[in-house]
C-alpha cells in the first residue's frame, strides 16, 4: 500500500515528462521502443507507462502502448 497524506497528484510525472511520454506513444509502441526513443532507463519507462495507463492517458494492448483520447486532449492543452 502506498501511503498518501493531504491528497495526491493524479500522476507523479512532471508536465515535461508527461509530454515526452505521450509524444512517444502517438503510434502503438512497446516499452522497449519507448526506451530507444526517449533514452530513458527501462524502469522509468515501465513505471511511467503503467501510471499513465492507470490514469487513462495511455491505452495498453498486450505489449503495445498508445495515447488515449484523454492523452491527446492533454497534449492539445499543454
Amino acid at each position: 500500500m502506498i501511503l498518501v497524506a493531504c491528497g495526491k497528484e493524479e500522476v507523479s510525472l512532471s508536465p515535461s515528462q508527461m509530454k515526452l511520454f505521450l509524444q512517444a506513444v502517438k503510434e502503438p509502441v512497446t516499452a522497449e521502443e519507448v526506451v530507444k526513443s526517449t533514452e530513458l532507463p527501462i524502469f522509468k519507462v515501465r513505471s511511467s507507462l503503467r501510471e499513465l495507463t492507470e490514469a487513462a492517458y495511455v491505452e495498453n494492448n498486450g505489449d503495445q502502448y498508445t495515447i488515449s483520447q484523454k492523452g491527446k486532449e492533454y497534449l492539445d492543452q499543454n
Binding site: I2, L3, I42, F43, S47, E51
Partner: protein
C-alpha cells in the same frame, strides 16, 4: 542459535535467492521491482534523511551512478522516511553541495521492503535501516549482499568493482581473485577430476600456481 532465530534467518533473502518483489512509492513515483527486469540493480538502504554520514554517501552514490549506468546497472535508495522528506533532502544536497541526486529513493514508511530484505538490525536500531546493499542481476536474482553499520560510510569503488566482478562471472563463467579489477587475470574453476588436474598443470595458456589454483587472461 535457538530454533526461533534460525527460522527468522531463513526468511531473509540470501545470495542466489529471487529478489523479494515490491511495489513502492519513490522520489520518481510508484515503482515495482519487476520494472528493473533486464537491467542490474544496486538496492541500498540508509538510516535516515538529513543525517551526516548518509549525506556523504548520497553524494558518493551519485558520483558512481554514471559508471553503474554504463554497466547496465541502476541505483535505488531506501530509508524509513516519507517521499516529501526525501525530496527536501535531495533538494538540500543540491543546494548545499551542488550535487543533483538522479536515482530514485524509496519511501519505506511502513518498513515493508526493509523487513523483506532484512535491512533493520534491532541490535543496532529498531527504527532505522542500516547500510545494506543488495546487488540484483538482470534476472532479479540476488548476487551479492553487503551490510555496514550506521556509523560507517560505504566504499563506492568497492561497489562498482563488485558489480564488474559479478558481471564478469555471469558473462564468462569464471571467478575473480582477491582485489580483482577489470584487466586482471581471472581464476578458472578448480579441476573436477584427476585427469583435468594433470592436464591443467601443463596448460601453457594458464598461470598455474598449483593444480587447484590457476589464472588466465580473459579473452573478450
Amino acid at each position: 542459535m535457538s530454533e526461533h532465530n534460525v527460522e527468522q534467518a531463513v526468511s531473509l533473502p540470501r545470495i542466489g535467492d529471487p529478489a523479494p518483489q515490491f511495489e513502492v512509492n519513490t522520489t520518481h513515483g510508484p515503482i515495482k521491482l519487476e520494472d528493473y527486469k533486464g537491467s542490474w540493480l544496486v538496492l541500498f538502504s540508509h538510516p535516515a534523511d538529513f543525517t551526516p554520514v548518509c549525506t556523504t554517501e548520497f553524494v558518493a552514490f551519485q558520483e558512481i551512478y554514471p559508471q553503474l549506468k554504463e554497466l547496465n546497472t541502476e541505483l535505488l535508495g531506501l530509508s524509513v522516511d516519507s517521499v516529501q522528506s526525501h525530496i527536501a533532502w535531495v533538494r538540500n544536497i543540491q543546494e548545499k553541495l551542488g550535487v543533483k541526486v538522479e536515482f530514485p529513493v524509496i519511501a519505506d514508511l511502513n518498513k515493508e521492503v526493509a523487513t523483506k530484505y532484512g535491512m533493520i538490525h534491532p541490535g543496532e536500531s529498531t527504527t532505522e535501516t542500516n547500510r545494506a546493499v543488495f546487488v540484483i542481476d538482470d534476472q532479479q536474482v540476488i548476487k551479492a549482499i553487503i551490510y555496514y553499520p550506521l556509523t560507517t560510510g560505504r566504499n563506492m569503488d568497492e561497489i562498482v568493482r563488485l558489480v564488474k566482478a559479478l558481471q564478469t562471472t555471469a558473462n564468462h563463467q569464471v571467478s575473480t581473485p582477491a582485489n580483482w579489477n577489470p584487466g586482471d587475470k581471472v581464476v578458472v574453476p578448480p579441476p573436477a577430476s584427476q585427469q583435468q588436474a594433470e592436464e591443467r598443470a601443463n596448460d601453457e595458456e594458464l598461470e598455474v600456481v598449483d593444480w587447484y589454483l590457476a589464472k588466465k587472461e580473459l579473452k573478450e
